[in-house]
């Protein structure tokens, strides 16, 4: 399909270590997924920790959950799912050689990611005001054991904090990606970087899909 002559390789955006565009694309896709598997284990360890501590301190965790703003959590879930849609559309635009659309969809993804982090700042601020940040200022007036509720907020800040860090890194990478897309680096035969960053962004979305019910929703009916 592709000759080894240099001009062709350039036209196809094919690096010298690969035999074909398909092989290059599959390597990129598989490599990114192997990285994401390590991320699954990373966040998975935290989820497992949360489940065990919740089992041991159910009262405190349910009380802690009730302090979270379910509306803000649900809105942020919708915002993040929206950003996954714009990211998927950015990949679509790159696949179909639409340069400007690729840039715009990436910028929309950055914007929605920013909205998510903004809402998170509002939520964190409320926790500081209500003395729900673990440490010397932590104060729990309810009948539940203070340590149990504090353990909930330890895990809340650790898990949402690491998730937010992933988003901040993601927004930084998306900014570079938008610039590269604007310069016309990507083509229908090589847009692997857009696809790879997309996989990362969707993964961060998946982490939140589990964080939202675990932190905000469990124990609400009681």
């Amino acid at each position: 399909m592709i000759s080894d002559a240099k001009p062709d390789r350039q036209t196809w955006g094919l690096d010298h270590q690969f035999d074909s565009v398909d092989q290059q694309r599959e390597s990129s896709f598989l490599g990114m997924w192997i990285f994401l598997v390590t991320e699954i284990m990373f966040f998975g360890g935290l989820f497992a920790t949360y489940i065990v501590y919740r089992g041991q301190n159910t009262d405190g965790f349910v009380a802690g959950s009730h302090e979270l703003d379910i509306t803000l959590g649900a809105v942020n879930t919708a915002v993040l799912i929206g950003s996954s849609l714009t990211m998927a559309l950015a990949v679509w635009a790159a696949q179909t050689d639409r340069r400007k659309a690729t840039v715009w969809f990436i910028l929309a993804t950055i914007l929605l990611g920013g909205v998510f982090l903004g809402v998170k700042v509002v939520e964190y601020g409320a926790k500081f005001e209500h003395h729900l940040v673990p440490g010397p200022e932590f104060h729990w007036p309810g009948p539940e054991k203070t340590e149990s509720v504090q353990m909930f907020f330890n895990l809340y800040f650790l898990m949402t904090g690491l998730h937010a860090l992933h988003m901040i890194i993601g927004i930084g990478i998306l900014a570079v990606l938008a610039w590269l897309a604007w310069r016309g680096v990507f083509s229908a035969s090589n847009h692997n970087l857009v696809e790879g960053v997309g996989l990362y962004w969707h993964f961060v979305d998946i982490v939140w899909i589990f964080l939202f019910p675990l932190l905000y929703l469990l124990g609400r009916s009681g």
Partner: protein, 96 residues
């Protein structure tokens, strides 16, 4: 194998399903289902995550090598959580 371009219609459909799932999980959280509340919440989350993996992340149209990598990742997570819980939640059995 050439690149499979997912039509925009599919992306919008999946987006709609994910939004419905979000509303559903908030609504279900306030129902009196006892222990089933947790199961329903996790079932909805797993369904949403599966949709994202298959369609947004294009795993449905990827090679078998990628598919087995993805499945292995989640399988090992299941082993981690499964063995951990089988330890912690059976300790009381011995104390009795």
């Amino acid at each position: 194998m050439s690149v499979h371009v997912t039509p925009i219609r599919v992306y919008l459909l999946i987006f709609g399903a994910l939004m419905v799932g979000t509303l559903l999980t908030v609504w279900a959280a306030f129902l009196q289902l006892g222990a089933f509340n947790d199961i329903v919440a996790m079932a909805i989350a797993v369904t949403k995550a599966t949709l994202v993996v298959l369609y947004f992340m294009h795993v449905r149209h990827s090679t078998r090598l990628t598919k087995i990598t993805v499945v292995a990742g989640f399988l090992w997570l299941a082993i981690l959580v499964g063995l951990l819980l089988s330890d912690y939640f059976t300790r009381g059995f011995l104390a009795g």
